[in-house]
Amino acid sequence: MKNYKATVIDYGMGNIWSVTSALQYLGCEVDVSSDALIIERAQTLILPGVGSFRKAMNALISMNLEASILNSVLARKAKFLGICLGMQLMGTKSTEDGETKGLGLIPSSVDKFSSSEVADRKVPHIGFDQVHFDSDGNLFKGISGNQDFYFVHSYRMLPPDSKAGLSTCNYGIDFLAAYENDNIFATQFHPEKSQTNGLRLLDNFLKV
């Protein structure tokens, strides 16, 4: 019997239902919470998100969640997964709608795909695309090479110069598709919308 538990951070910006539904399918007990104290104590945290960076960051700050997340992840080493905007919020800063500081868990900034990067490709980058992953990591265990995951975004992070596990996707430029470093995990794509590939990835995260 699996004994997964996860707290999904609800800061008013997420596709909470989809993430929760996928986790429950995997046999995970899900607590959806916007309570700083609960997040402060959680063992496994998931930060989903659909929305603009500035609004999301402001929501996290005004709900006192920024500090609880950082305490949990950095001091207590709680397992953390940021999805889509959730991953971008983990960056150092974003230039979406002015410049906004991020959580700083991933040493990379968030910027819009530039026309020189994507050449004749369309922005937003929407649809299933191949992820070139680091097979030594935990997230992609059991997933055969270069599988497709669902992306829907106009902003991207570039792979940082770091020893962390970096997975990339190419859209004219290699951008950061997934990140893992110790207890810190992130995906730019939506695993909860990536069929069996995504379910397997979420299961891998819960298993770590």
């Binding site: 989809s18 046999g27 649809g127 590939n197």
Partner: protein
């Protein structure tokens, strides 16, 4: 490489799923009927996205629609776009919290033009799908319709499409009312209304009645995704077969390793209702 997308569109009205022909609606069945004939926990592996639209002509009940949306998303791990009657950020928020990933807007594009901006400020441009319904006039000229096809816009369709392309929307969903539900094939003439270079993904809808129609759509370089709303032509394993034929026809679509669902998942889904 980014794959093309096969989209299945569900039309919902007042408790029923509908078949639309040239925008005239016919109720086909309720949620139970849909789940019997389209098991989305399986069929979702044959499509890349699901679009669910509330096309109710009278007063819409968004809370009920959200419940239907939630039911559809149980064990269905495919991206979902929801729309129909979205006139404010609150409605969009409700849909996003019920399993939608993107919001489709239509009539507001021509009337309450600030909605696209408000939605994109709140959720990002990638979250907003602009849907444009097109129908030929008596002299054969394509014109834009809105409000469930009841309102005709006099301005040239090309101009209206150009103006939508400058708005803060992520994708454009072009639907041919003339071909809608006819199963006679997609309406490639609507693509002629687009400027030479379109920097947003284009979804073509209306008229696909079999896999060959879909194939022709995917082979058109202007098209990023093809949608069909034909509830009868793809019933049972119709979508699965169509996808298989598309792949055989050389269309690059994502493939899934279904083993994971059958072997590794030990628990039954919890009741999400």
């Amino acid at each position: 490489m980014l794959k093309k997308r096969l989209i299945f569109t569900l039309l919902y009205s007042n408790g029923s799923f509908m078949l639309s022909r040239n925008f005239r609606l016919q109720a086909v069945g309720n949620l139970a009927w849909l789940q019997r004939n389209y098991d989305f926990s399986q069929i979702s592996y044959s499509i890349d996205e699901l679009v669910v639209l509330d096309v109710t002509r009278e007063k819409r009940n968004i809370d009920k629609f959200c419940e239907v949306l939630k039911s559809l998303t149980i064990n269905n791990f495919v991206p979902i776009t929801a729309g129909g009657g979205v006139w404010d950020v609150d409605s969009a928020q409700k849909l996003l919290r019920s399993g939608a990933d993107k919001i489709l807007i239509n009539s507001s594009l021509f009337i309450e033009r600030y909605l696209a901006k408000e939605l994109s400020e709140e959720y990002g441009q990638q979250c907003v799908v602009a849907s444009i319904d097109l129908k030929r006039s008596k002299v054969g000229e394509l014109q834009v319709l809105s409000h469930n096809g009841s309102k005709l816009h006099e301005s040239p369709a090309r101009e209206l499409i150009d103006s939508v392309l400058t708005m803060e929307v992520g994708e454009i969903y072009l639907n041919s009312v003339d071909r809608d539900g006819t199963g006679q094939g997609l309406d490639f003439e609507v693509l002629e209304l687009l400027p030479a270079r379109v920097n947003k993904p284009v979804i073509l809808a209306g008229g696909a009645g079999n896999s060959n129609h879909l194939l022709l759509g995917f082979k058109d370089s202007r098209v990023d995704a093809v949608a069909t709303a034909n509830l009868f032509n793809f019933v049972g394993d119709g979508l699965k077969k169509a996808r298989h034929e598309l792949v055989l026809g050389g269309i690059r679509l994502p493939m899934w390793d279904l083993g994971f669902r059958n072997s590794d998942v030990t628990s039954l889904p919890q009741n999400l209702g």
